[in-house]
Symmetry: C2
Subunit: 265 residues, 2 copies
């Protein structure tokens, strides 16, 4: 397969994964469903929709690219040291999902040698799908999107999930960033914030300790829309990152935000 054909095949697969998972997830949205306590230490809820969507996506990936690896939020993974590894989060924003808020999303990322290469943020309840990377600029429902310029961090808005997700030193760093900004906004769902930055609707998104399945898909969407996204130390986000994410539409604002965070974690 040529590189170009490979890229196109990956993008086509992303659409299949998003279509399939979206149908499963919406089938369970705003219905009474059993919310299980997850067996790990976070105790976060996990639903039938999560598990079924991830199973369906992993089956599609295995059939299409048997040599590719796979890392899922729910089921673990397989062949995780392959050159190409898919990283899936069927429902990012489970709390939004189980409370009827349509901002939850499905995250589909593809790593090449541990580096985010292609990403999709799919919001089935909004019928909006962002895809970026794999050699192509970021689009939303097929139309190109770009981040917006912002002259100064003092004019910028920053989105975050909420202060209750931050540890003490993280909260102090975020507070410095928020104070340097024009406005902070807390919201329900991480992944939608990155879509907002990619589309130039807002200026920044910032989170601490996101898992790989939370940020792998987001990075190519931001970068290929003209934005900047790194960890809180300014390093590129790769498989080993701590998941402290700072995304900005304007590179100058991103630099100012890093200074404001003054992160030493």
């Amino acid at each position: 397969m040529t590189a170009q054909n490979f890229n196109a095949a990956c993008v086509a697969l992303v659409h299949r994964l998003a279509d399939t998972s979206g149908e499963i997830v919406l089938h369970h949205f705003r219905t009474s469903l059993r919310v299980d306590a997850k067996a790990d230490e976070t105790g976060s809820p996990v639903t039938i929709a999560d598990r079924d969507a991830e199973t369906a996506m992993s089956d599609i990936i295995r059939a299409a690219f048997p040599d590719h690896g796979f890392i899922g939020e729910e089921h673990g993974g397989h062949n995780q040291n392959a050159e190409w590894v898919w990283v899936l989060d069927p429902i990012d924003g489970t709390q939004s999902f189980i409370n009827g808020v349509p901002l939850f999303g499905t995250l589909i990322g593809l790593l090449r040698n541990g580096v985010p290469w292609l990403g999709c943020i799919n919001h089935p309840a909004l019928s909006q799908r962002w895809i970026g990377g794999g050699g192509a600029p970021t689009t939303m429902n097929g139309a190109p999107v770009r981040t917006r310029a912002c002259a100064d961090i003092a004019k910028a808005t920053v989105y975050a999930t909420g202060p209750e997700y931050l540890r003490t030193n993280e909260a102090a760093a975020f507070e410095r960033l928020a104070q340097a900004s024009k406005r902070r906004r807390y919201g329900g769902t991480d992944c939608f914030h990155y879509a907002m930055v990619a589309s130039g609707w807002t200026d920044m998104a910032c989170e601490a300790r996101l898992a790989l399945h939370d940020f792998a898909a987001v990075v190519p969407v931001i970068l290929n829309a003209g934005g900047t996204v790194t960890d809180w130390n300014g390093r590129p986000l790769t498989r080993g990152s701590t998941g402290h994410i700072l995304a900005a539409g304007d590179a100058g604002v991103h630099a100012q935000a890093l200074k404001a965070l003054a992160w030493s974690g």
Copy 2:
């Protein structure tokens, strides 16, 4: 006009107001628009969309019911001591609106002698419209909705806009409520939280110092979906209320939440 005909005429008018304002508001959503600092002390942004939508709605009301009063967020009001007074907020959740988040809503309330009698929470970007009151149960896009039962506040989720909107004593009261609950969630837009409670998607919504135009429409939507909504002292919400709002789908949880708030403001 018979009472039944009057009720039907009011509901029909609500749909016209929601259709008209929704079209104006969506025309400006996710476009670059001028965000003015409002001339009052809150400094909150107000947009062309706000003002145009309110003007269009007030014109429709004056033509349909010349003897009714009118209170708007943007333009003030007229004939405000009439038996029937319409209370409008063209864009509740202006920050969501200007950052591309589709959870903003248009609030249309009708007071009878200062008491919320009919209300509509319209979310044009979600194509979802809740209407309740005027002698009819609450519906969403025409289908009846009901709040959900919850056995105990310890199993309940509470939604609020964010801690940054609370004064010290309010934050302490909200913290007591959040601690008594299973989970707190901060989100971008007040009015959608009340729609979520009305539809039985979540358990509680709680805010401090909402203006009349923020809660007038919400009260009939909650009450006519089977929920309970009062101020933080347990009193019915009327025109003179301080705007400390506690809404719950389950009356037992509402009573427990009032105890947890232990509000003496």
